[in-house]
């Protein structure tokens, strides 16, 4: 694990989910810096703002007002300087079909929001670890899929 903190960006319109997320990362023993935005529009403007460092991994809720997660996903994948960011879809349950579809559209990770906090911590930890492997150990990013 690197000395520098891992940059994490979360886009979720739900206040409670953002709380869970923040607290979970505070309790995980990995060095992380977490930034949060409230919806898709904020997300895109944050990402396109050159002053902001790009995150190592972006956690993206699907059901957001103004701009949905899928719209953001497609937009990010079309931008040359953003398309290599690892994207983890963070959503309430969906059908297998929909999950596969988000992967096809370019997502790397799909997380079904768990209903247990310790489960959430475990999942986030796993995601960060695996993501780190993909960023350092020369694993094939084209095959980077993880569904939790």
């Amino acid at each position: 694990m690197p000395k520098e903190p891992i940059h994490i960006l979360l886009a979720d319109d739900d206040e409670d989910d953002r709380l869970f997320f923040k607290e979970a990362f505070e309790e995980i023993k990995i060095n992380t810096r977490v930034h949060m935005v409230n919806d898709g529009v904020e997300l895109m403007s944050h990402l396109t703002n050159e002053g902001n460092p790009l995150p190592n991994i972006l956690f993206l809720d699907l059901n957001m007002p103004r701009k949905t997660g899928i719209d953001c996903l497609l937009e990010i994948k079309r931008m040359a300087h953003l398309k290599d960011i690892a994207i983890a879809i963070y959503s309430t349950s969906s059908s297998e079909n929909d999950i596969e579809n988000t992967f096809v559209q370019g997502a790397n990770v799909y997380i079904k929001k768990p209903s247990d906090f310790s489960m959430l911590k475990k999942i986030l930890e796993q995601v960060i670890t695996v993501n780190w492997q993909y960023q350092t150990s020369g694993l094939n990013r084209d095959n980077y899929f993880l569904s939790l």
């Binding site: 990995i30 596969e100 992967f103 096809v104 799909y110 350092t136 694993l139 094939n140 095959n143």
Partner: protein, 186 residues
Amino acid sequence: MKLYLKFDSNIALKKIIQEQFDKLQMEYDYLGFAEIEINDSVSSVEIRKLDECLNNYGIQIVENQKSVLVQKIKDTIIEMVYKEEKLPTSNSAYLSDKLKQRYGYLSSVFTEITYTSIENFILLQKAERAKQLISTNEFTFTEIAYTLNYSSVAHFSNQFKGITGITPSSFQRIIKKRRENSTNLK
């Protein structure tokens, strides 16, 4: 039209190192296993420069001993998973044998540096190899399971799903659709 690539990462690595060292006009000796011998008199500034150049290719100069060992362990594991025709029955025995160290020691160093276990890393690599084999579309799931030393397709699917969260056929579908989408875009 589509091109499928198969590559030998070692050769690629050697070539890149050669280019970079030549560019910086540094002498080196390639010892294999991503180990290079350079002159003791090379300054840390030059080493940093070299590090920066190599970073462009995703290559990093690993600093301390333990990191070196961890890197060796990773490389061995990768070789084990990718190079061998059929995976060995005991991973620990294989690693211990190749690296000439006690497996327990290897395991603790690995966990200390990477925060994950060797087993986990091996599983991850196996899953990666599985993904590679699946995306070639040349093998059946049964053949892949056998190559990766699983007792059955069910066992293989189980573990694959455990690592990635999706089933092998789901993965196959996704890859196929992604390819179709990118050709459609063109």
